[in-house]
């Protein structure tokens, strides 16, 4: 089991305080990172992935500060999926997914059976194995999102950090991606996912971290954190919550006007 901890993280970008004294310790499970636009979710995710550095504070992976890890070693432990889905060339899907194996291979190492198995498994888990020979330029947006998720899964890392993996996907694909993330967490991995859909966060996440204005407003089990009071305090919205067909739901009903 991996442990990823952020300790007293501060970050200022262009004179604006983006993160203020954030401490967060995570073990396993599917953890939703939610909060309004500009709350600092994506910044925190990038700092915890080791691809941004903070002004103050440190991120510690299993007792070792991230900055002291060699880049490939860090990359084998932490897989990261950004929200951008632009591809610069019409590459074959299988090649894009195989890039997830970069941290595992030396500069001139041959493609191993293990690499191949990881790519095949990753494509299968997002239900995209039939796409492997297609070009990323000719598949749909939803298919591309799944292929890029497969790329992150192919790293086979114990920790997966994803930023808005379900944004701009249709409801069926949103559910599918959430199921994949849920499955990864059930394998004993840590999945930290920036989410905007409160209902899906409530339904799929073991734990939710609610951020607001660069700080952690609340964290804990999804049903506790995604409360009507918190939604009012942080988003300034009223919500309708309940259960339908045995699944919890949250619907924003209106903005609270001062």
């Amino acid at each position: 089991m991996s442990k990823l901890a952020a300790n007293e993280i501060h970050l200022t970008l262009k004179g604006r305080k983006v993160l203020e004294n954030i401490s967060l310790e995570l073990g396993t499970g599917l953890v939703g990172l939610v909060g309004p636009n500009g709350a600092g979710k994506s910044s925190l995710l990038r700092i915890m992935a080791g691809i941004w550095s903070s002004d103050m504070g440190s991120v510690v992976l299993n007792g070792t500060p991230l900055y002291s890890l060699e880049a490939p070693e860090r990359a084998r432990q932490l897989a990261f999926l950004p929200p951008e889905r632009d591809m610069h060339w019409p590459l074959p899907v299988s090649h894009v997914v195989s890039l997830g194996r970069v941290p595992h291979r030396g500069p001139f190492a041959p493609w191993s059976a293990e690499d191949e198995a990881a790519v095949v498994a990753a494509l299968k888990s997002v239900d995209a194995d039939h796409l492997s020979d297609r070009s990323v330029s000719e598949i749909s947006n939803g298919e591309r999102a799944r292929v890029l998720l497969a790329r992150a899964l192919a790293v086979d890392a114990p920790i997966l950090l994803v930023d808005e993996a379900i944004a701009a996907l249709d409801p069926a694909h949103q559910l599918q991606v959430m199921e994949v993330l849920r499955g990864e967490a059930d394998k004993g991995r840590l999945v930290l996912a920036v989410l905007h859909d409160l209902g899906l966060a409530r339904r799929y996440c073991d734990e939710v971290v609610l951020m607001n204005q660069g700080t952690i407003h609340d964290r804990g089990p999804a049903e506790k954190v995604l409360s009507a009071k918190n939604m009012g305090d942080v988003y300034g919205i009223e919500v309708e919550m309940g259960m339908a067909q045995g699944q919890p739901y949250i619907i924003p009903t209106r903005q609270i006007k001062e």
């Binding site: 990038r46 992935a49 080791g50 691809i51 060699e70 880049a71 490939p72 070693e73 860090r74 990359a75 084998r76 932490l78 897989a79 990261f80 999926l81 950004p82 951008e84 632009d86 591809m87 610069h88 060339w89 019409p90 590459l91 074959p92 090649h95 894009v96 890039l99 997830g100 970069v102 941290p103 500069p107 070009s135 890029l148 790329r151 790293v155």
Partner: protein
Amino acid sequence: MRTLSTLGILTLALSIGSIITGYADISASQILLGLMGSGEPAHVVIAQELRLPRALLAAIIGGALGLCGAALQGLLRNPLAEPGNIGVTSGAAFGAVVALYFGFANMSPWALPLTAMVGAGLVVIFIFLLASRESSNTALILAGVAIGSVATALTALAMNLSPNPWALSEIVFWLMGSLRDRSMADVTLSLPFIVVGMGLILTTSRGLDALVLGEETASSLGINLSSVRIRIIVGTALAVGAGVAVAGAIGFIGLIVPHLLRSFTGYVPSRLLLPSALGGAALLLAADIGVRLLANAAGTELYLGVLTALVGGPFFIYLIFKIRRGLL
């Protein structure tokens, strides 16, 4: 693999074609005998001291331009980038002209390639600084065009100010490039830098592959982006700078070649590098054969850059339209 061997054979054939093409009325077999060191002494001299360095320079400089084009396009994720249109060759030409007309070149034969490499290096660094702030492809190319124009103007200015009476005709050499009257000394002067520069660029292949997913993902995959950038900056400065120092600024090779070969290499940036080097060598050899065949017909030899621009300019416009329609 098939792409590489096809290009290898093509380059070899064009090298032989380049050696048997020339202004002296000597048959192909006589020249090839001369190349081996046998046959008439005059043929030996022409083959070994005129034709051979010319063919060698066309191959290595073309190779450098093709490779740098492929690497820059991969790094900037921009199919329009190449050493010529982002101002790197003009920067190198300006560096060379400064050495020539302000006397540094008299101090040491290495001064010329050195200042050319510095000129090229400064332009690449500027482009990368800009690319890190401004992600738009168009802005980058426009800035490159502007830098290129400034470097070109400075080149002309430096020559106008110099006391050299032949300056005017030489401006054209530096702006358009030529392989006329080059010798083995030019090969010795440029080859080491070009080899080191190309070697440096070839070490970035994994980084270029990961970069198709964007800078953040590449970095999350353990790629050290600053190291990749530095190796490509230094590699391009060395290879293009040394090439321009002996042949002047030849444009468009690095634009045309990677584009033509990309689909044969599955669009994978690392697989595009070596084929682009071979393709660049083949294209410049062909262009250099072309200017001599045209000269035999028309009487005067065109500058190489004239020929590459006549083909490359329209090609550039075609690429822009293709990108606008979302085909790239």
